[in-house]
């Protein structure tokens, strides 16, 4: 009786060891799959993350094609009744010199840009325009901090604000690293770019995309492998703003110079 007992205890300790080993190796595998698919540094797998929805929208900005005309900003203001002084999208101008970086965005670039002064022009090594907007992040800090859940991420990729719930506390405005949000003083609620959700639902493009004469702004469905955005992202030569923030933007930049924050 005693012998049987001792044998069974040996068997028990062996199987326990095997079991523990399996747990450790299984856990490590699961962790690797999780980190490779979700965490930053593996943005590609994040973009192609399977969604159960019909569409998965994404936005691409080709910096080299932007001419700073400002038609996108004006189209957005008209389409969305954006209050004066606030911007759902804007364009920044960068002039890089040996002394430093000159950046401006007068009226969000809505009226285009006056030429820079002669001194700066002389020192300029390069200059370019960068359109900015809400990045409709996969891991949006604005959604995380909203105390009542008024701001949310839709399954198709839009980050939206439910104005019937918004308290106007501005916590989301603070949390957004890209300053894409503002308090709309006409309604005293949080406001931001919606990628023209109302238009997209009707099968149209966002107003800014439609207004861009050089096709620097592109919008499309990642669920459609033939779409332009899918094709471009497949090439893998894109980046996002402030990747260290780990917000997983769904606005992708092509040719984004290193000075841009």
């Amino acid at each position: 009786m005693k012998k049987i007992n001792s044998n069974s205890s040996i068997l028990d300790s062996k199987s326990r060891r095997v079991f523990l080993k399996q747990i450790v190796s299984g856990g490590a595998t699961a962790l690797m799959i999780y980190t490779s698919g979700v965490r930053g540094g593996h943005e590609t797998s994040r973009i192609w993350k399977q969604r159960s929805t019909e569409h998965h929208w994404a936005y691409i900005i080709d910096v080299g094609k932007c001419i700073g005309w400002g038609g996108c900003v004006r189209a957005c203001q008209k389409e969305n009744n954006v209050p004066e002084g606030n911007f759902r999208t804007w364009v920044e101008r960068y002039v890089v010199t040996e002394d430093g970086v000159y950046v401006d965005s007068p009226k969000g670039g809505a009226q285009g840009f006056e030429p820079v002064n002669a001194g700066l022009k002389e020192k300029a090594k390069r200059a370019y325009f960068v359109p900015k907007m809400c990045n409709h992040c996969e891991n949006p800090p604005c959604v995380q901090v909203c105390p009542v859940g008024a701001t949310y991420k839709s399954p198709e990729g839009f980050v939206m604000v439910d104005h019937d719930y918004c308290l106007g506390c501005a916590y989301c405005v603070q949390a957004c690293p890209y300053a894409a949000r503002f308090i709309n003083h006409e309604i005293n609620k949080s406001d931001k770019c919606t990628w023209c959700h109302h238009r997209v639902k009707q099968g149209k493009l966002p107003a800014c995309v439609e207004a861009c004469p050089t096709r620097a702004r592109k919008f499309g469905d990642l669920k459609d492998p033939e779409s332009e955005v899918s094709q471009i992202l497949q090439e893998g030569v894109w980046t996002v703003l402030q990747p260290a923030m780990h917000t997983g933007p769904s606005c992708f930049y092509i040719g984004l110079p290193k000075e841009v924050i």
């Binding site: 308290l167 106007g168 501005a170 503002f182």
Partner: protein
């Protein structure tokens, strides 16, 4: 023009960063919340550590904290774009938000303070309900919650319950004050806020401001009633204040030194911030005049100034400076963080608003309200021993 961060040639701020979205209301919200902390310090000293010397101020600390607590959430309400929806935070809290359960933690603590105060004063309420007439009687009756007889046997039970509530109140207060710090410390988009030390700094500074306001109110009340203060007790309180501030200030400096020594991206915006727009209010205000000076003053008062009038005077000056230090700290954190544009290449201008909804006038009224409330309450219930002759006939 201040030095600009990240190699900027001109002050560039993002177009949506022109406005400081959280202004004076959000400065005085954590300030008023912090002032409640005096109650939990005195509770810890008297109820938990059983230091009888603090018994004379136990009720005072509770009533004063209750007055600050009544108004602590008011600045938030004034700040909200849709204040009529504030109740949503109780009914549909979004639990990933650091702000979402503030309503529960804050209200819970306020209810706890009210229960403690009720247990302590219910004997007085009963006496008044039975010995007044008309509207007065009805109000006192309401305060008795319908219990109009007081049995001497209930006294030990009341004391026991008060002690239990005080015990619960200590971790609860730590949670409340730490939580306020977390609301700021968890915002990764703002370098000046984002630190794990923020909850502890807010807790420590709440303790500092809570004790300092109790000392100043105690002095004022005793001076007005021409009653001589308890110097020995004040000295003990000043010692705790001094220690709490050394801890608080140590943490504040540790955070600064840490960011400076790491010399990472954060320092590239924080250095020009504190040497630029925040130079006067942070370097000269918060650190030099309002920290170094009171550290020496209180140190002298505690170590060398004896137990007399001069010690009492120095302690009050030190307390006033520390009360201001915490106000400056709240300002420098809340406003300072927003002065760095998220462009990381420029600073936003802060404009002082005087008569606006969230202006200086509203801030002053909200800050004065707890003191007025305290005055009104003190007319009806005995708070200090010397009040008892006038008001406590029970």
């Amino acid at each position: 023009m201040h030095d600009l961060p990240n190699n900027a040639l001109v002050n560039f701020i993002f177009p949506n960063n022109e406005e400081v979205w959280w202004s004076l209301m959000i400065v005085i919200y954590p300030y008023l919340t912090g002032l409640i902390a005096g109650a939990f310090v005195v509770s810890a000293l008297y109820h938990v550590l059983n230091l009888k010397q603090f018994k004379p101020i136990a009720n005072f600390a509770l009533v004063a904290a209750f007055c600050f607590g009544l108004f602590a959430a008011m600045p938030l309400l004034v700040h909200l774009g849709q204040p009529q929806r504030a109740y949503e935070i109780y009914f549909t809290p979004h639990l990933t938000s650091a702000m979402s359960i503030f309503g529960y933690i804050y209200s819970g603590y306020l209810v706890l303070l009210m229960l403690e105060i009720w247990l302590i004063y219910r004997k007085h309420f009963i006496y008044k309900a039975n010995n007044t007439t008309g509207i007065q009687q009805r109000i006192w009756y309401l305060l008795t919650l319908g219990v109009t007889t007081y049995h001497p046997d209930s006294a030990p039970l009341d004391r026991k319950l008060t002690r239990i509530l005080a015990g619960i109140g200590i971790p609860w207060a730590i949670l409340l004050h730490g939580y306020v710090g977390f609301v700021f410390g968890s915002v990764k988009a703002i370098s000046w806020w984002a630190t794990a030390l923020q909850p502890i700094i807010f807790l420590a500074s709440a303790v500092v401001s809570g004790i300092a306001i109790l000392i100043l109110m105690y002095t004022f009340i005793h001076w007005r009633h021409r009653v001589s203060p308890d110097y020995a007790m004040i000295k003990k309180l000043a010692t705790i204040l001094w220690a709490a501030f050394l801890f608080d200030w140590g943490l504040e400096m540790l955070e600064l030194v840490h960011v400076w020594y790491q010399d990472a991206h954060e320092w590239s915006v924080i250095q020009p911030l504190i040497l630029g727009p925040l130079y006067d209010s942070y370097v000269w205000g918060q650190i030099i005049w309002l920290s170094v000076v009171p550290v020496f003053l209180l140190g002298y008062a505690v170590l060398y100034a004896g137990n007399g009038k001069s010690m009492f005077f120095i302690v009050n000056v030190g307390s006033f400076l520390l009360l201001s230090q915490v106000l400056f700290m709240r300002f420098n954190v809340v406003i300072g963080g927003q002065l760095i544009s998220k462009s990381a290449r420029g600073f936003v201008d802060f404009h002082w608003d005087i008569f606006g909804k969230e202006g200086l006038l509203t801030a002053t009224i909200l800050f004065a309200a707890p003191f007025i409330t305290y005055y009104v309450i003190s007319r009806f219930i005995p708070i200090f021993e010397f009040d008892k002759a006038d008001r406590d006939h029970s």
